[in-house]
C-alpha cells in the first residue's frame, strides 16, 4: 500500500520557466516531507524539507508547498535550468520511525 504517490512519471519544461512537481500522501501521521534529486547511476541527494506544521519552505530556487487538508505537496523550481534535469523523489518521515517512505519519482527534463 503506497503511502506517498507521485502520479506524473515525467515532466518537460523550458529553461527559465517554472517546474512544478506534485506529490500526494495518504498517512496523516507524517511529520516531515522531503524532496530528493537523483541523477542516473548516483544515489538520491537531499534538496529541501518541510515540517507538517508549515505550509511553505523556501531555499534559493526551490520552494515546497504543503496543503495538509488535501494531503498534497509540491516542489517549485524557479527558474528551471538544464542541470535540474533529474528524477525527483518525494519522501515522508512517519511520526513513529526514522526511515523515509518514498514515491516513485518524477523525471524532469529541462530543455534549452
Amino acid at each position: 500500500d503506497q503511502q506517498v504517490k507521485q502520479n506524473s512519471p515525467s515532466l518537460s519544461v523550458q529553461e527559465g520557466r517554472i517546474s512544478i512537481l506534485n506529490c500526494d500522501y495518504t498517512n496523516s501521521m507524517f511529520d516531515y516531507f522531503l524532496w530528493y534529486k537523483k541523477y542516473p547511476a548516483e544515489g538520491p541527494t537531499f534538496l529541501i524539507s518541510i515540517s507538517s506544521i508549515k505550509d511553505k519552505n523556501e531555499d534559493g530556487r526551490f520552494t515546497v508547498f504543503l496543503n495538509k487538508s488535501a494531503k498534497h505537496l509540491s516542489l517549485h523550481i524557479v527558474p528551471s535550468q538544464p542541470g535540474d534535469s533529474a528524477v525527483y523523489f518525494c519522501a515522508a518521515n512517519p511520526h513513529s520511525g526514522y526511515a523515509l517512505n518514498f514515491g516513485k519519482g518524477t523525471s524532469l527534463l529541462v530543455t534549452p
Binding site: 547511476a41 548516483e42 544515489g43
Partner: protein
C-alpha cells in the same frame, strides 16, 4: 564529496553465488538503512539499524541479511543470489537537521545483476 561509500558500484554474478555489498560512512551517524530500487519505482526499505548490534527488517521482504558490528559499517549479504535479486541497492545514514527533519544521506548505490 561523498561521506558514505558503497562497493562494488556494479556487480554481475551467476545464480547461487554469495555476495556482500559494502557500505561505510564517515559521519558518525547511528542510523543506517538499505533501500532497494528498480527503475521507475519507489525506493523500498529492506533493512535498517539504529546503532551497533541493532538491525531490523524493513517494509519490503528481502532474503538478504545485514550486520552492524561497527558504527561506520553496514554490509548487506545475499547467501545465494537469484535473478529476482537483480536491482539497485542504496545505502544511507541519517541525522536530524536543525529543521527537525531526519535527513538521509545516500551512497552512490550498488547495481546488482544476477544471471
Amino acid at each position: 564529496e561523498a561521506d558514505i561509500y558503497q562497493t562494488p558500484r556494479y556487480l554481475v554474478i551467476g545464480t547461487g553465488k554469495k555476495i556482500t555489498l559494502e557500505c561505510s560512512q564517515t559521519m558518525g551517524h547511528d542510523k543506517m538503512y538499505w533501500y532497494q530500487q528498480d527503475p521507475g519505482m519507489e525506493l523500498h526499505l529492506i533493512h535498517y539499524s539504529y546503532g551497533v548490534n541493532s538491525t531490523e527488517k524493513g517494509d519490503l521482504s528481502s532474503e538478504s541479511t545485514v550486520s552492524r558490528i561497527r558504527t561506520e559499517h553496514f554490509p548487506l549479504t545475499l547467501e545465494s543470489a537469484r535473478p529476482s535479486h537483480t536491482s539497485q541497492y542504496l545505502c544511507a545514514s541519517s541525522e536530524f537537521r536543525t529543521s527537525g527533519a531526519n535527513v538521509l544521506t545516500f551512497g552512490a548505490g550498488s547495481r546488482l545483476t544476477v544471471l
